[in-house]
Symmetry: C2
Subunit: 663 residues, 2 copies
Amino acid sequence: MEKNWSQLWLNYRKSEDSSQKKYFESLEVRGFGESKIIANAVAELELATKAMFGVTIQQKKPDQTATLCIEKVDPEGKDGTYELIQKGHQLSLQAATERGVLYGVFHILRLLSMGKRLDSIRLKKEPQNPLRMYNHWDNMTGDIERGYSGNSFFFVNNEIVIDERTRDYARFMASIGMNGIVINNVNVKQCASLLITDRYFDKVAELSRLFGEYGLTLYLSLNYASPIEIGGLDSADPFDQRVIGWWETKMEEIFRRIPNLGGFLVKADSEGRPGPFTYGRTQADGANMLADIVKPYGGIIIWRCFVYNCTQDWRDYKTDRARAGYDNFIEMDGDYHENVILQIKNGPMDFQIREPISPLFGGLQKTNQMLEVQIAQEYTGHQIDICYLIPMFKEILEFDTYMREKNSKVKDIISGRTLGNRYTGIAAVINTGNDLNWTGNVLAAANLYGFGRLAFDMELSAEEILEEWVALTFGTEERVMQTIKEMLLPSREIYEKYTSPLGIGWMVTPNVHYGCSVDGYEYSRWGTYHRADHFGMGVDRSHNGTGYALLYNEPNASMYDKPETCPEELLLFFHHIAYDYRLKSGKTLIQHIYDTHFEGVEAVEKLITAWESLKGLIPEADYENARERLDRQLYNAREWRDQVNSYFYRKSAIPDEKGRAIY
Amino acid sequence: MEKNWSQLWLNYRKSEDSSQKKYFESLEVRGFGESKIIANAVAELELATKAMFGVTIQQKKPDQTATLCIEKVDPEGKDGTYELIQKGHQLSLQAATERGVLYGVFHILRLLSMGKRLDSIRLKKEPQNPLRMYNHWDNMTGDIERGYSGNSFFFVNNEIVIDERTRDYARFMASIGMNGIVINNVNVKQCASLLITDRYFDKVAELSRLFGEYGLTLYLSLNYASPIEIGGLDSADPFDQRVIGWWETKMEEIFRRIPNLGGFLVKADSEGRPGPFTYGRTQADGANMLADIVKPYGGIIIWRCFVYNCTQDWRDYKTDRARAGYDNFIEMDGDYHENVILQIKNGPMDFQIREPISPLFGGLQKTNQMLEVQIAQEYTGHQIDICYLIPMFKEILEFDTYMREKNSKVKDIISGRTLGNRYTGIAAVINTGNDLNWTGNVLAAANLYGFGRLAFDMELSAEEILEEWVALTFGTEERVMQTIKEMLLPSREIYEKYTSPLGIGWMVTPNVHYGCSVDGYEYSRWGTYHRADHFGMGVDRSHNGTGYALLYNEPNASMYDKPETCPEELLLFFHHIAYDYRLKSGKTLIQHIYDTHFEGVEAVEKLITAWESLKGLIPEADYENARERLDRQLYNAREWRDQVNSYFYRKSAIPDEKGRAIY
């Protein structure tokens, strides 16, 4: 099979610096038995060094010291920990597990691709999150919910596809330290409900084995109503013995037929999906029932907290969707069994460009937690607009929940540091599809790469990660590096500037979620309102309003509760603010809206100029790919600017101080 | 085939009054030869009188005088004219053409069904519009564009279906005097482009023959780009000899293969459809080219005037979609060939609940014209909300364009009276589908019936027509008659009250066109804006604005041009008006908006009470059908009320004088 798809950051180039070739003359692997993972790690080494240095690593001869030694040792640390030590003529990679070897090898290759030298290296790396997962929202028909880069490469016409692209995808994931993948959409419908039946077992098993060879554990999204939909029962009540019995039989079959299966992801009682609420049971009741049944097989249940009333009355100012996740899950804190993990979206709403952190983080004291972020750019530009999300993810991880005196940042909680628990981690709704470049916009691959690196090492900065990605993808030419950094690092703020202001979110075209529609969700059932009137806008979530601000631990609660102390980028999320309110900048709210929207468009114009300066320095196809999207981004940004400004000008009747065009 | 579908107004009931039985003892048909139409007319007579009186009409014996005599005479008048004369023991139906017989028979049956007597009858009826057509927007896949009563009964999975339902549909059409039908959507795509190829000729011919037996002429919507799409040419330029040659050959084939074909309906250069503009030609160039080619076969080309820029910039206050039809067609007045008809939507926008009359009526001085109305309730409630449209159509027909001293109302123009032309008439985008009751809401059949009756006789009042329909459909019980009249006669004003005010239109959910979204089209490319700001709303189409008002003849132009003389129901269509402007009622504009929206909902509540009073008096299934929809109408009306009121309150900050709930 001819590889006509991109190799992304694994596109090994000839090295300019042949000095490092010396470490790849001979290889010895010690202490690991027969292992597909080790074999794949070695194969990757061979592939890369051949491309970089034109060498083929030889097996160590009996009388020789290998130049590269891979050794099983038993260092402290989570599965996947490795050490790299250069001493004398030898580079040594030490790890307790096969995953460690795999990650260590990719670390070596990353350094080489970045033009770094391995001489005198001495480092130890431990993956900080026990679970580092991709969540695919792929449907078995082949389309992808919120997919912006083609169709699924796992599913075509309700069949599972496994080919060289699948293997490359596994390589990409392994290369950035991922260890888990959910292949099907959390909205489990039609044929996806049959993934746990004989119709698909063989293919799922084959896929799972393939992933396993790259240290990746397979998970499936589960239809909570399976006992009804495929079991022929009339109930999915978690307390019903028939239901429990059905699941027991089914799980025995599933784990027997599918090797390397880690467990299940469940979206229950949300947006029309079935769940335990139907039977008057709690979310804990539902999750625990499944967890107890999969426990003998080492399985886990990842239970999403995205549960809210999606038929809200917009006239109702009391109900607050932002509270829903908290209110639906907090009471059962401590009741969730040991192999249940609650998967919590970063914000209380739904992946907006700016949200506060979900108060479940810091609220839950005795529960396994996973952070869910989204690199599929559903609300952040559809992989048309550039939006490098790693800076946002860093903010999330560094948020201090104050649930303990120390170690109570989000990164502490999800790494297991805060509570000392075993099942924690991070997952991303993923931005890949069968486009030849995988992510639609070539620049969106920075998020794919960056998420994995960050999941492994949360201390990396957004800038460090970006530097890695640029070097691996486009090479180490300084102008390319500087220009792309200048484009991507502020891109989230740029997107924010021309879209919805100060944390209020939404204002997007309903359903599509791209393009401006200020009132698009204002009179709808989705709980997503800006409440703008002639005098001001924003949702009062203080103690005077919905009380949402008080769900946080102190001092966060007090900080959010008052407009004066609330971080201004979240001001409209927490407060209803008059248009003539003075921000710390001295500007009024309305002038801030006008200014940022003009600035946002100007910034996009500069992005275009910057990108155009790279013409000839990066591959033509990649250049044109992003160039064309930048034009669409500019169109989008102008529409947002003019619609938002016109909307608020028409409503407030307050003119722009600078007299710019508003319609 | 068991008829499980409704017989609508042809559901002949046993007569309470046996006195009229005497006219149906024996029948003589004089002067007409072998004729399917006559046979069908006689069959209908037999069916009905059997049901009403239990009699079977006998052929007249040689020594007898028939009690019912159908006679070919040659009275003045258009095709379809008939006379009914009762003298002595005989009822005589005289007509020059078979269509006249058909219409006369249905007239007799209508009178009987309404409980009227034929004694002493003496009347002559002439169809006022030469062309009286249904326009189906059925796609060959089976779905219907803007269909709200199921799928197509003509097309299923790209095949043509002909069965007893098709025949019944032809009967319905004949019974109300229709004489033409377009079976496929004006947006001619996919398989519909192949209707004029061998793949479909046999079935189209069969359908056309069937229609012909009920006096109905078949027309097809034509893909203007057929020379490219099915002809393999690289152009559809009307001046290109290859294109002309291709059409000549194609038309010869079409008219040879399809009997009873009247011609074609063409939507060109509109909403993405191809047309002569592509080649720098005028609409006249395109229409005339086709017209010349079909002329030898007696064919006509009906050319839609719905041509406008559908990628307008909402920031542009100069461009006015309302002008587009006029501007695109007026210059070529006089150039359109004799067998071209321009089909003009009633208003300049698109079937809103209230629009002025298209200024093409009264503007075009030398061109054949047809009026296009829509009984598919695209913008008028989707056959969920009750909206009896005949009063609106009456307003349209009675509108005086002042293009002549007299006889210059719309009804005069489309009947041919004004200009003395032969090809004129009226068409309706139709509201039928394969629902067993044909129209989704049983009460929507009043529009189906009413349109036909009005097309035939434009002097009938909306009330008369409704009385006929109620009697034929639900019988002559006085309470049923009164209640349904009280519900349907004001229903258009009720719908108007709770939706967009004073002629501004739109404010609907984009694409769907049901449900409120005040800003749904405000920042879009469709040219459909309300321009509401803090101070007022409406589009200035006066001489100060887009100048649209001046497209009318005097005194209409002056009347529309000034807010003081502009009919208030169209005030916001023609003018940008301040919220505190005083209407003739003494109310401010904003208070008028609040009041009408509260009134609209109250009126819907009364509709429900009224309908509930009929429980037991009309068939249960019909009762429940409308009852359930009335609940949805109430929900819809409340949403409109609250969204419109809240939107304008938030924008204007002017409170409701009565302090009612606004959000």
